[in-house]
């Protein structure tokens, strides 16, 4: 799909000839995230649509205690120190960002009065700045007014390297200034198509200046408010036990009318995913459980308990197989998989195509993941009903054999194919995780039929996903031929996500394997497309560039996408929630309510 076709479709959405949701699905099939598409539409004059969630209660309170179960529990409540999503979720009970992402990728104002837009003159046409208007009359839990100064302070706080904030990446390059008491302006160092990063979503929560002012920089750890948050959110802080429990109670002065519905909230942590699912679905001890990494078969059985159901919503997590472009078995200058080498046979398109045909994605979906993993051909995200023509997938052993034969790979004495003395023997690694080991078996069996020998290797997750420079088994080192893991697109904009195929991002000894390009695939065409996208200010043109990049990755079989993994939560049958894969699980906690 090129820019012209894209524009035609956007026009159709504007005139109503094409539904917004259908367009969104189609774009997601091309590897674009929902928020990205929503921004593209907004930029083209199609207003962001409100989600169809109805908040029924007519007054605040009266809902009793909302009991949440996070099997990995929050260990801190300062959003700028959050290490994982669990910490962001714990903080989100008390703190709020200016705007949040809904499931369709729309920006929903929370502490902002409105979402900035080009039409309103609050987003620069050349994307050099954005202006946020803050909601008036918002008060911190201690009664102090929430103003522009707080936002400016958050920027200074997070951008200061001495604070050691984990949000520093979002804030360090921008400049935030006060226009008046309820207006801030963010200046970008260069045109920034994805302007909704700072002050938005999980990394955008705002902490109060008057309590953290003294603790900016080196003594950031000593702030008492790190443990006793004072925010603007729907619930007031009551108690926090790191790694165990967060408790809050209704905020009577909340800035949204008739909210929140619950009188108290508690987020209990610890344990494991299966028993968390049980506590919501089967015994009803809890109302909501997060991140149900549980086999679908088991979830279905627990759902028969009748107390709750499983809520599955889209994200951009892809379980994929990476093909090594370099030789993992030859050591050059103290590192294997060095870009000074090339893989003896994985760079042969025939082998790549054959491997692509030998991954039985449908079986993986059907027998391993069920509802929690959908077979996909695209790298980023692909609801099955909109498979793009260019990047379809199939499982076909005969076709794989034919391609290998044509490529000159003939079976040797033991049935393993070889060419010029090079034998098709591969080592395939992943982390230790039951579904992944089953997947390895499925791939291995299919490859065996086609004359490719696969040796399976499973590494403990704590080793595999660590950035330990001394360990040869990390995924970033990639000292094997194939490997499989899930990449997550935590930011709604594909800009950072697609860096992982840039030549300049190759993981190597020089950058301590911190480079994002793990397959070590290098393509001038891709690089130039990516650089064009960095300077492209027109969201539609930029979207076309990303679609093209996605197609390049798939056509060259840089990676083999296996399943797209939506997020899964267990929800009590009484509870009404709207879950978004582009933001925290509790992005609209103020709207949650339960039937009496």
């Amino acid at each position: 799909m090129d820019e012209r076709q894209l524009r035609r479709r956007i026009e159709e959405v504007r005139t109503g000839a094409r539904s917004r949701r259908a367009f969104l699905r189609e774009m997601m099939a091309f590897g674009l995230s929902a928020p990205f598409v929503a921004q593209m539409l907004a930029h083209s004059g199609v207003a962001m649509a409100a989600s169809d969630f109805k908040y029924a209660p007519t007054k605040a309170g009266g809902g009793g205690t909302l009991k949440l179960l996070w099997w990995q529990s929050p260990t801190l409540l300062n959003p700028h120190f959050a290490v994982g999503t669990k910490d962001q979720d714990g903080s989100r009970i008390f703190y709020e960002p200016l705007a949040s992402w809904d499931p369709d990728g729309n920006l929903v104002p929370t502490l902002a009065a409105e979402v900035p837009s080009v039409e309103a003159g609050t987003v620069d046409r050349d994307l050099n700045w954005v202006v946020w208007k803050l909601k008036q009359g918002v008060k911190w839990h201690d009664g102090q007014p929430f103003t522009t100064d707080d936002c400016v302070f958050n920027w200074e706080y997070a951008a200061d390297p001495a604070t050691a904030a984990t949000t520093i990446g979002t804030y360090k390059d921008i400049k935030v200034s006060k226009v008046d008491d309820h207006t801030i302006k963010i200046d970008f160092p260069k045109p920034t198509p994805f302007w909704a990063d700072a002050f938005v979503g999980p990394r955008g929560m705002v902490i109060p200046k008057h309590l953290f002012e003294q603790y900016k920089g080196g003594n950031s750890r000593e702030a008492p408010a790190n443990l006793t948050p004072v925010g603007t959110g729907p619930y007031l802080f009551v108690d926090f036990k790191p790694g165990d429990l967060v408790r809050g109670k209704l905020n009577p002065n909340y800035h949204m009318a008739n909210r929140p519905h619950f009188d108290a909230i508690e987020m209990k942590g610890g344990g494991d995913a299966v028993s968390a699912a049980r506590a919501v679905l089967q015994t009803g001890e809890y109302d909501f459980a997060w991140n149900m990494q549980v086999e679908d078969e088991l979830l279905k059985r627990l759902e028969e308990g009748g107390k709750g159901h499983v809520d599955i919503f889209s994200t951009a997590n892809i379980e994929h197989i990476e093909l090594n472009n370099t030789d993992p078995w030859k050591e050059v200058d103290g590192e294997r998989s060095s870009i000074k080498t090339t893989h003896p046979f994985l760079t042969d398109p025939a082998v790549r195509q054959a491997l692509n045909l030998l991954v039985d994605k449908l079986s993986v979906e059907k027998f391993i993941y069920g509802r929690t993993g959908k077979a996909t051909a695209n790298f980023i995200n692909n609801p099955q009903q909109f498979v793009s023509k260019d990047t379809s997938y199939e499982f076909n052993v005969d076709k794989a054999i034919a391609i290998l034969e044509k490529g000159g790979w003939k079976p040797g004495g033991d049935g393993i194919r070889e060419k010029d003395g090079v034998r098709l023997k591969l080592v395939y690694q992943t982390s230790i995780n039951a579904p992944r080991q089953k997947n390895q078996e499925i791939v291995k069996q299919a490859c065996q039929k086609a004359g490719i020998d696969i040796e399976i290797k499973a590494v403990p997750a704590s080793v595999y996903f660590s950035s330990d420079v001394g360990n040869p088994d990390t995924y970033a080192k990639f000292y094997t031929d194939l490997q499989m893991f899930t990449t997550t697109m935590t930011q709604p904009d594909p800009g950072d996500f697609m860096r992982q195929f840039l030549s300049s991002e190759v993981a190597s000894k020089d950058n301590k394997w911190q480079g994002r390009n793990i397959t070590r695939w290098r393509s001038d065409e891709y690089d130039s497309l990516y650089h064009a996208s960095e300077h492209e200010t027109d969201p539609v043109k930029r979207a076309a560039l990303f679609i093209e990049m996605n197609d390049l990755v798939i056509k060259n079989i840089v990676v083999i996408p296996v399943v797209y993994r939506p997020a899964v939560a267990a929800v009590s049958n009484k509870l009404h929630v709207l879950l978004s894969g582009w933001d925290s699980y509790i992005w609209n906690l103020h709207d949650w309510y339960a039937d009496a």
Binding site: T75, V83, L227, R247, A279, E285, T487, D496, Q514
Partner: protein
């Protein structure tokens, strides 16, 4: 006695130092990175995790990190958790009461089972009661706590809906309802730990009573016409329980170890679950802190066992 105590305490210092070196070394050599969550998030530049590592001193050589830790420890500073940026001592103190309450209650339960059952079985060996008690003890002793824990959850929570299986520290309400809620949620973890320990001790008490009951002075006591009750309580049990007391003291550290798993299953926020969470998050200061507390407990209870033994049995003298 006092000299012995001082000597033992002085000896404990090099032991603890050695333990801390080994623990620190193993943790430093083990793979893992407290900021791996950040490293695998594509929207956070790698420099963020690198800067945090540098700031928290994770890139220093192992020996330097150890001496930093040791120096701070000698000043009473246990360091702070990488995951929550809270002082380790505060985290441990927050968790300790729960662990002590659950473990204490389970040990009392274990003793309440082990002593009467063991004594009764011991004075009537090979009677039907003894046969049944011994068989049950063998079963209870053979089933690991993680297994009985799951069976209990399935039976009492899922099927019968009698008890909750998520332990909560803060329960709303007051008065009787509050206490009842605490008791209800604590029944299963305490029972799992207590029954396991009780089964082990029952066998021991029985064997010990059996040994003592055969001795000549017991026969003498009976021969001079003392009632059976007096013979058992005054003459048999008193002497039979001497080794049991030391066994109880010595098995304390093992109980703490077993509690780790039980705490994880029932989500009891004790130091055991703190340790597991810290290990999963590669939170070195917390792991060091908790394991160090365990090490101290082992040494302390060993010492208590030795002292108790001497106090109960005057034939033993300390030199």
């Amino acid at each position: 006695m006092l000299r012995y105590l001082v000597r033992r305490l002085l000896l404990a210092v090099p032991s603890l130092l050695g333990i801390s070196v080994v623990l620190f070394g193993i943790l430093a050599l083990a793979p893992g990175d407290p900021f791996s969550d950040l490293a695998s998030d594509p929207s956070i530049p790698p420099s963020v995790a690198a800067a945090l590592r540098a700031k928290f001193g994770l890139d220093d050589p192992i020996y330097l990190r150890y001496f930093h830790w040791l120096a701070a420890m000698l000043h009473g500073d246990w360091g702070f958790s990488f995951a929550s940026r809270i002082d380790v001592s505060r985290l441990i103190l927050q968790r300790l009461p729960t662990t002590l309450a659950v473990i204490g209650a389970s040990q009392i339960l274990a003793l309440l089972i082990a002593v009467p059952v063991g004594v009764y079985a011991g004075v009537r060996p090979y009677s039907p009661f003894d046969q049944i008690a011994s068989s049950l003890a063998l079963i209870g002793f053979s089933l690991p706590t993680f297994f009985t824990g799951l069976v209990f959850i399935l039976l009492f929570s899922v099927n019968l809906h009698w008890l909750p299986f998520v332990y909560r520290t803060d329960i709303g309400g007051s008065g009787f309802a509050l206490y009842w809620a605490y008791v209800r949620q604590a029944i299963m973890p305490i029972a799992v730990l207590g029954l396991f320990q009780g089964a082990a001790w029952t066998r021991f008490v029985r064997a010990s009573v059996l040994d003592v009951a055969r001795l000549d002075y017991v026969t003498t006591a009976r021969a001079k016409g003392l009632s059976e009750r007096v013979v058992i309580t005054k003459h048999i049990v008193r002497n039979a329980l001497i080794p049991v007391v030391t066994l109880v003291a010595l098995s304390m550290p093992i109980v703490f170890g077993g509690a780790i798993i039980t705490e994880q299953i029932f989500r009891v926020p004790g130091i055991g679950s703190l340790l597991i969470a810290a290990i999963l998050a590669n939170d070195t200061p917390v792991i060091m802190g908790v394991t160090f507390v365990f090490a101290c407990l082992v040494i302390l209870f060993n010492l208590i066992a030795d002292l108790l033994y001497g106090w109960l049995d005057p034939r033993i003298s300390y030199r």
